[in-house]
């Protein structure tokens, strides 16, 4: 569906995307993870044929975005990071006009709009203006709108930012079903649970490059241990205790509020801590998650 080689995006001197290669297959759900400013959105905008490449080659749906932008976008649904709804029009009119852009027959738009308003739980608001709707409702409408053309490729740039947990789970369920119907999904997110739920494959982006690539499971195996032990001691004790605990784990991370021990056997490590006579205020043994991978690869410091 999407094939990129040596993809580059520059804004003046700044290199937003720095020679990345990736292939997204039909029916797959592919994620771009990364902190703010990592180049995710720039990559999305190039895939959606809105932003021209600064270098490299890109094929989307087998076509060249530089010459076939409109043809590609006719088969694509785009959920941009920033909503572009008409806030003065009604919910229904926003869907209707978007269907018109794709030149769908009015009757089809009408039917689909009904179903999509149901999908986005906006049916009661069909005839109210968009302006007073909550952020979550607007987001759901943006997503519903992107589906009106029944796209083969759905591009979601941080789809659930600003949604409440109910809406997020509802959306995940719907996206999962679209995927089963054969729709290819491309998602950017900085929610790790979202990536774990939705993505068959993902890349972690940092400073315009791919820091890692694989299935969620592969990434956890490659960049973290099976389990993580979280230890909280009395304030100020962390620095002092850390050296003595370092040997218990493959990797140790000392944070202001807790010490993390990355190990394949958390219970054994915890028993060892107790045997050494250290009394933690609280302990937790948990499975490694993508979040551990993400923080390891992109660091804990804030980017912007």
């Amino acid at each position: 569906m999407v094939e990129a080689h040596g993809l580059v995006k520059r804004f003046g001197e700044f290199v937003a995307v720095d020679h990345v290669d990736f292939t997204i297959h039909k029916g797959e759900s592919f994620g771009f993870l990364g902190p703010n400013g990592a180049g995710k959105t720039s990559t999305m905008r190039m895939i959606s044929c809105i932003s021209p490449l600064s270098g490299g080659t890109l094929r989307v749906l087998g076509l060249d975005p530089a010459t076939n932008g409109p043809r590609i976008r006719a088969r694509m649904g785009l959920v941009p990071q920033e909503d572009s709804l008409d806030t003065e029009l009604t919910v229904l009119d926003n869907l209707m006009i978007y269907g018109r852009y794709f030149d769908l027959p009015r009757k089809v738009i009408r039917e689909r709009a009904e179903q999509l308003m149901e999908f986005a739980q906006l049916r009661e608001r069909a005839h109210s203006r968009v302006d007073p709707l909550s952020g979550g409702m607007k987001r759901r409408l943006t997503i519903a709108r992107a589906l009106i053309s029944d796209p083969d490729l759905l591009i979601l740039d941080e789809p659930t930012t600003g949604l409440d947990p109910q809406a997020r789970h509802l959306l995940w369920d719907r996206l999962y079903r679209l995927k089963q119907d054969g729709v290819t999904l491309v998602i950017t997110t900085h929610y790790m649970d979202e990536a774990e739920q939705l993505c068959d494959r993902l890349v972690v982006m940092d400073k315009g490059r791919f820091a890692a690539e694989g299935t969620p499971r592969q990434l956890i195996e490659a960049f973290s241990t099976k389990e993580v032990v979280e230890l909280r001691f009395a304030p100020g004790q962390h620095e002092e205790l850390a050296p003595s605990l370092a040997d218990l784990a493959e990797r140790q991370e000392v944070l202001p509020d807790r010490i993390l021990l990355y190990t394949d056997d958390g219970d054994a490590a915890l028993a060892e801590v107790a045997r050494m006579g250290h009394v933690a205020r609280s302990t937790l043994v948990r499975r490694s998650t993508l979040e551990d991978v993400f923080l390891r690869l992109t660091g804990r410091t804030l980017v912007d």
């Binding site: 572009s84 008409d86 029009l89 018109r100």
Partner: protein, 283 residues
């Protein structure tokens, strides 16, 4: 979490259409720019009533107050202007001036909204439209809206008995052209602006002076010669002259020149708009 997912798929809900559902075949694809213009039509659905009333009331009020009341004074003292009554002289001038204002208005704030506030242009670009479709669609809509206003205006003029010739039918395209000769370059300019403050400057120093001094209310021969020259190069002067010649039936070769001037300005404006819109939207 499980309950939420189940709730979403609960029975009694309309299922979402399946991916790949076949559509009835269409004979002809709608041109892309027309799809963009359709958006502005949806917008107009909200405001058309007040817009129609305004475009009916304004000419009636102007023609009554200035044309008839002030006009009777002028006609009494100087036997009309250029051989016709003042109201007949004024009406086509106001027509062109109104089109200038509508063309400018619709190409300033709505264009900026398309980029910044409503982000309409971005939404259109996420659909299969190109930058040129977005621009052309917007200009086409402005032309459509102008046509509605001009039609009403000409009807009011006919009711006032100041349409002197069948040539007046051509005043419809002439007046719309006048509006587009402003809308095209102004939208190109609006695309380069990040704040709307330049628009009020445009109004104060270009649009209002033009409205007053381009032969709308009095012949430019009344002006000092250097101002006459300035008035002569303004687009509004040519729009006014063309509309006036058509409603009064004084058509001559000069009108081809006026029309060519306006067409040229619209074309240059459109070409500039293609550049400025691309620069703004394709990054």
């Amino acid at each position: 979490m499980a309950t939420v997912v189940e709730g979403a798929a609960a029975p009694g809900r309309t299922p979402l259409f399946r991916h790949g559902e076949a559509l009835p075949a269409r004979r002809l694809a709608t041109p892309m720019w027309l799809r963009a213009a359709a958006y502005w039509g949806y917008q107009y659905k909200r405001t058309w009533r007040s817009s129609i009333v305004t475009s009916f009331l304004i000419p009636v009020l102007y023609l009554a107050a200035m044309g008839i009341a002030l006009g009777s004074l002028i006609d009494k003292h100087s036997h009309g202007v250029d051989g016709v009554t003042y109201v007949a002289y004024l009406a086509p001038g106001l027509l062109a001036g109104t089109c200038m204002q509508i063309g400018t208005n619709d190409a300033t704030y709505p264009v900026m909204g398309g980029f910044k506030w409503m982000r309409t242009y971005h939404a259109q670009l996420a659909a299969p439209l190109s930058v040129y479709d977005v621009l052309l669609g917007h200009l086409a809509w402005i032309a459509a809206r102008l046509s509605i206003v001009v039609t009403i205006y000409l009807a009011v003029m006919a009711a006032f008995g100041v349409v002197y010739s069948p040539w007046a039918v051509l005043a419809l395209p002439a007046a719309v052209l006048t509006g587009i000769a402003f809308a095209a370059p102004v939208s190109a300019f609006a695309a380069t602006q990040d704040k709307d403050s330049a628009f009020s400057t445009l109004y104060r120093f270009a649009i209002i002076p033009m409205f007053l001094f381009s032969g709308t209310f009095f012949p430019i021969s009344q002006l000092p010669s250097w101002l006459q020259l300035l008035a002569y190069v303004t687009p509004l002067y040519h729009g006014v002259a063309l509309c006036r010649d058509l409603t009064l039936g004084l058509v001559g070769w000069a009108d081809l020149g006026h029309a060519a001037y306006l067409c040229g300005l619209a074309a240059i404006g459109y070409a500039a708009g293609r550049r400025t819109f691309s620069r703004r939207l394709v990054v």
